[in-house]
Symmetry: C2
Subunit: 230 residues, 2 copies
């Protein structure tokens, strides 16, 4: 049994859910609100961040990047037809570069601020930092979205998938981040046809269905969110 | 031939230099000032960050985490006696968790602010953000140092090395970060004997020597920096 500690609106948690579903791993999900800094959870992951995976009585697998390597070593390597990392060390480095780009840089500059201002701050008590969204942060994130979406479009136009010839962890890292921004109506899809066409391919995968069916209490998804022909 | 783009005071670059030296890889070092955002360098790594490694005419290996996996795949795996990752997937996950803890969390909360305020801002032109150190940032970093040093001491006391029974990438990630703070006189060694004893072991490794011999122009290292019996 594999327990997944996650938050439905954490992009890195969505990455974990997507790639676990791609490997058809049965998951026991546990909702975690990272800002609560729950004592029992800090004993599992001292950093207090999600996602975290615990398989049987094994050690905690903390963070999306660590989980990616763990899944490759325990599943991907043995099932070459499903493997989400390339066969060659140089090409694997390119996939890892992009996973880090999306889950760190794209998250810090664009999607993280959207999620924090529009979702987390509504769920957090005021003493933990909750409250109204900061419009300066939202404006900065919107300004940064353009160049990031163009980069995704550029990659999608120059390769079959974002990380190379084959579907890889890089596609799921980008798609997990974009899915959060898309729910919030913050992806200007019409500005990049290549990015849009690639995301339509990602969205139609069975692993994506549970994410598209989910709703946050009190916040409707954007018109494009569930639509496979957006 | 392996080209390493680095900055002498970037902790992640120091991590790269240490682990390349441990694997006895001959390196052609190129100094990069990341804040210059040099056009030729952005073509190598669009994120503009160091370290980056290019081996022969291979693809760019961007970032300390990606380099760690690349070295394990191209060197460590074939030389088990020198390997800096454990043999078991669960224990590898623990080493990777700690590498991320040190190079991201410890860096964001402690060492990064020290380096930015005390070194980078002196080297940067004013229009790129250079200037006097921000004392509020330095105070916050000093306040955070205590709990991070205790965590390193706790790991050192409960295991032979920080990441487990054997020397691993986790030790070099922590040591690379600490070496930058130590140069600046910002490590209160006397507050944690276990952390200090572990760092003394790291410092005495041949891979550390070039770092200890280096000086920044106009800034003398702290009294403890070069001393192996500090």
């Amino acid at each position: 049994m594999l327990v997944l500690y996650h938050h439905p609106f954490s992009p890195a948690s969505r990455f974990a859910r997507l790639v676990l579903a791609e490997y058809e791993v049965h998951v026991d999900p546990r909702l975690e609100q990272p800002w609560e800094r729950r004592r029992e959870f800090l004993l599992v992951n001292p950093a207090g961040t999600v996602p975290v995976v615990v398989e049987n009585d094994g050690p905690a697998i903390c963070g999306a990047g660590v989980l990616m390597e763990y899944l490759d070593e325990t599943r991907g390597y043995m099932t070459p037809e499903k493997r989400l990392l390339p066969d060659n060390a140089g090409r694997r480095a390119e996939v890892r570069r992009l996973v880090d780009w999306f889950l760190t840089k794209f998250d810090n500059e664009v999607v993280g601020p959207f999620v924090r201002e529009k979702v987390y701050k509504q769920e957090m008590p005021r003493e933990a930092g909750g409250g109204a969204p900061d419009s300066t942060m939202l404006r900065a994130a919107r300004a940064n979205m353009g160049s990031h979406l163009r980069y995704i479009g550029y990659l999608a136009a120059s390769r079959r998938w974002l990380g190379g010839d084959r579907l890889s962890f890089a596609d799921f890292a980008a798609a997990a981040e974009l899915s959060c921004a898309d729910y919030l109506g913050e992806v200007p899809w019409d500005t990049d046809e290549n990015a849009k066409a690639w995301y339509a391919r990602m969205k139609s995968r069975p692993s994506f269905r549970p994410l598209l069916a989910e709703k946050i209490r009190g916040m409707k998804p954007s018109a494009s969110y569930e639509d496979l022909d957006f």
